[in-house]
Symmetry: C2
Subunit: 285 residues, 2 copies
């Protein structure tokens, strides 16, 4: 099976694209709603919570877990891959959303290798909007440097966008104010960014307002489609995993908060009815 993890509902925008592109596999979606949002929490807390979630998904039988959460990808993925996975679950894999996003932001094809040069596609200013935690981790910049050294990246934290989306405030004067408040500084100079990455899986739900606030010459990248495209490419390069992702088209929905409430919200976002169950995540040492 494929595990898809997010602190809340944002990861459903990634899952949605995965289901469209690769519906034949089996998926477990886990949302840590009882402890969401992760955006402003400290490194240690995000690391511990993410490890508990991934460990749970491995115990459920997942071969690969995708962290469909930028905060977890930015702050916990590297350490988990290097220090925990080889001892705890050597035959499993954890993938994040930062690496594929940075490939797309730099205009590079899937599976690009750091150090190769792609001068024509990687020129021009680039921009990322994300949670405070993701921006403070500087992960997008550090990853981009490996592929496109010297490219100018501007980053902007948008701390109210997740609460706005979670409370249905995705239109109206208040939402517009906070969309402009965070975006306008990115476009105040002479050279607007060539591409703007929505570096939080909640943000595509604000796309109508974001499109109106961004100049036409700037390409807006949402993570769902680009992560799905690049995950398909990853599977093609790792045939040893292709047979371990399930083949019955199963969908399992899990949350750490109320499962009926989760099911209602997720059904709305995915436009399909579903049933969820509540799970307890336990401490992993």
């Amino acid at each position: 099976m494929i595990g898809v993890f997010d602190s809340g509902f944002g990861g459903l925008t990634v899952l949605d694209s995965l289901l469209q592109g690769m519906p034949e596999y089996d998926y477990v979606y886990l949302a840590d709603n009882a402890r969401a949002p992760y955006g402003a929490r400290s490194f240690d807390v995000i690391h511990d919570f993410t490890r508990e979630a991934v460990d749970h998904l491995f115990r459920e039988g997942c071969s690969v877990v995708i962290l469909a959460c930028n905060t977890a990808s930015a702050r916990a993925l590297r350490t988990l891959q290097q220090r925990w996975l080889p001892q705890a679950w050597p035959d499993r894999r954890i993938l994040g959303v930062v690496r594929p996003s940075v490939e797309a932001l730099a205009g590079l094809p899937p599976g690009s290798i750091p150090g190769e040069t792609f001068p024509s596609s990687t020129t021009g200013r680039l921009a990322v909007v994300a949670t405070s935690g993701t921006v403070n981790s500087d992960s997008f910049r550090l990853e981009l440097e490996k592929f496109a050294p010297g490219v100018e990246l501007v980053q902007q934290a948008c701390p109210l966008w997740v609460p706005m989306v979670e409370n249905g405030e995705i239109q109206g004067a208040g939402a517009e104010f906070f969309v402009h408040k965070y975006l306008d500084p990115l476009f105040s100079g002479d050279a607007p960014p060539k591409r703007l990455l929505l570096g939080c899986t909640h943000y595509p739900l604000l796309l109508p307002l974001i499109r109106k606030a961004v100049p036409e010459g700037t390409e807006i990248l949402a993570q769902g489609p680009l992560v799905a495209e690049r995950f398909a490419h990853w599977v093609s390069r790792h045939p040893e995993f292709a047979g371990r992702l399930g083949s019955q088209g199963r969908r399992i929905w899990q949350t750490t908060d109320d499962p009926d409430w989760f099911a209602r919200q997720a059904a709305c976002l995915l436009n399909t009815p579903l049933k969820a169950s509540r799970v307890n995540l336990r401490e992993v040492r």
Copy 2:
């Protein structure tokens, strides 16, 4: 010692008033920042998290714990008092902020007894603003009914106010929009409410904007002063506890997230330097 618990920083507005009125006692403030905010979580989750926090404070040596969090008071207090405390910690007490707030909202003196009638002070429409969890629990209405049956209470959830306060958005056009969005419906009729209770300990930080949006004839009640006044009265009625609240003026600061970050934020809000430590809350069965 006296334990003061909140999911985050809001409870500091209550602690601040307690420290001003009763500085001689010893206090432990515990914030569950790693899992805040509680406002929109389900009953089960709020109940479990609150029990873990209170159990921790009792193990630290507190005789009385004040839930300086309306969500926890509204959704977990009654069940903990009736089903858990008598078996687990029979010589300790848990107090909440809903009962004293309702006394003040109805214009009643501290320690009022349900069933007594105070006709002159309890007439006129009353209003509460709070988180979705608190409003959905209907706790303010149920508690008010016991003291002032038949009094009209209007309740309004303000889901963006806590994220706004936590991100420093307490002035400007965006904050004003969401202050008016939630308050204006309460004042659209012919008879504005006589009193408006800020039923979330974060909301006093929005007081300058709230005052501008509320007609002069409406009294605004913040919970810090009224909880402190009524707690002093509770101590005077429970002399067996007066000797168990400490007498050295000790202040202990604990959080489930990064202690340095907590200390910086809390020092700002309380205008005094402090040192905090990180604690792990463990499951209680």
